[in-house]
Symmetry: none
Subunit: 234 residues, 2 copies
DNA sequence: CGCGATCTTGACGCTTTCTTGATCCGGCGC
DNA sequence: GCGCCGGATCAAGAAAGCGTCAAGATCGCG
């Protein structure tokens, strides 16, 4: 992956800070891609597959924490958050969402570079075991990076909830995932109406199973939860 | 490696801070080993192979940075440095010596715990493909992580009660588990009708034993309880 | 504001699981 | 042999859980 020098994705809306960071990183011989918005950041993370992401939390079009979560769905790339917000709550939120480090503005350039080196160390070691960004079962192919699902050649459209549900099952292939856990992952910590799950599992089966009435992959464990099989039933 | 909860090595000479951290970490169900000196820290890192090291820089018998360097010679275990020194120079030195994070005293407990979780995430990813806890007897394989049961190659479906009952027996493999205890574990504290047990043990034998009428693993101790043998009968 | 897509909710029939009672079995003391 | 006891087995009804459909509510976008 790193034939060349490490590639850094900088997601930052303040031109001032970018003008400060750009020459600093270039001077270390890092390659650099820049995004100014959350949306653009996620897109560039997809398309450029950087070795490290430097992410400002305060973006014009959305929360940086949400960016972190979205990237974490498919990539273990190290994410260093930089933020003006120094409250403990902010740090914990970002770190638990999947960030690897949290720097408070203003920060010293030497410290940033040192933490960047730590992140790159991790990336180098981690890349040996990079989880597959594409998951397949039967004739279904789920590209976690592109957020697309295909059956054979044709693309299948999934709604946001359907997709999140599927991703959660994929992250636990072979394991039974309890109702509680699925609800928490997909609907957030408040939900407990597991009637949702029946409806949405039904829709997933409708879209992904050959015979939705006799599912071979999306299995039910009555009274416990659901599970994506790693080998087909029957 | 992590059959149990994560093991943390705390290298810290101030008794005051240890008294603060100890209950906090224990409360998170982490296991804890403590060292008061640099020398002891390196020794315990060797002997206990912790999942994370919390390392104070200011130790009586040597520099924490040196400890980091020594451990890095042979182990990639995540090291979180905690230090009163907040100078950028200190951070860079520690991080470049191999530390993964650097916290300045005083720090909030929530932040420490969040950074600890980050470190544990890294540690977990380093050890490829964490195998589940699996228990086998005869041709039966119980995967406790996936909540699945196999006989030979074919999967056996167990209802929630059947599964709970089996797991309880597995947790006490080789030992007799009394009727009372089984009922409490599986049906909750209210139950006392041990007719349940006969029915459900029968179903388990039906599903798991070669000759359900002559069980070789799921043994009855008349008047006392049931027991999962650790070696087959006869 | 209006439209389509998505989400939520309720109703209903079906399947699985649980509970319970009836019956059977084998050992033991009388 | 007979009656008793704890355990095993079987089956049927009750209860809980599941799948499906569809009608509204809500959201997002133009």
């Amino acid at each position: 992956m790193t034939e060349h020098s490490p590639l850094i994705l900088l997601v930052e809306d303040e031109p001032q800070l970018r003008r400060f960071l750009r020459p600093m990183l270039r001077a270390q011989n890092y390659r650099l891609v820049e995004a100014e918005t959350a949306r653009e950041g996620v897109a560039l993370a997809h398309s450029h597959n950087p070795d490290v992401i430097l992410l400002d939390l305060g973006l014009p079009d959305g929360d940086g924490v949400e960016v972190t979560r979205q990237i974490r769905v498919w990539s273990p790339v190290p994410i260093i958050v930089i933020s003006a917000r120094g409250k403990e709550q902010d740090k914990v939120g970002a770190l638990d969402a999947g960030a690897d480090d949290y720097l408070i503005k203003p920060f010293g350039s030497a410290e940033l570079l040192a933490r960047l080196r730590v992140a790159l160390r991790h990336a180098a070691r981690g890349s040996l075991a990079t989880p597959d960004a594409i998951h397949t079962f039967g004739d279904v192919r789920v590209d976690l990076g592109r957020r697309t699902v295909h059956r054979g050649e044709v693309e299948v459209h999934l709604t946001p909830h359907e997709y999140k549900l599927l991703v959660t099952l994929i992250h636990n292939v072979g394991k039974v995932v309890t109702h509680r856990q699925l609800l928490r992952e997909v609907w957030g910590p408040g939900a407990q109406e597991n009637h949702y799950l029946r409806v949405y599992m039904g829709q997933l089966r409708q879209k992904l199973e050959e015979d939705p009435a006799r599912p071979r992959w999306l299995a039910t464990d009555a009274g416990v939860g659901y599970r994506l099989r790693d080998e087909p039933a029957r």
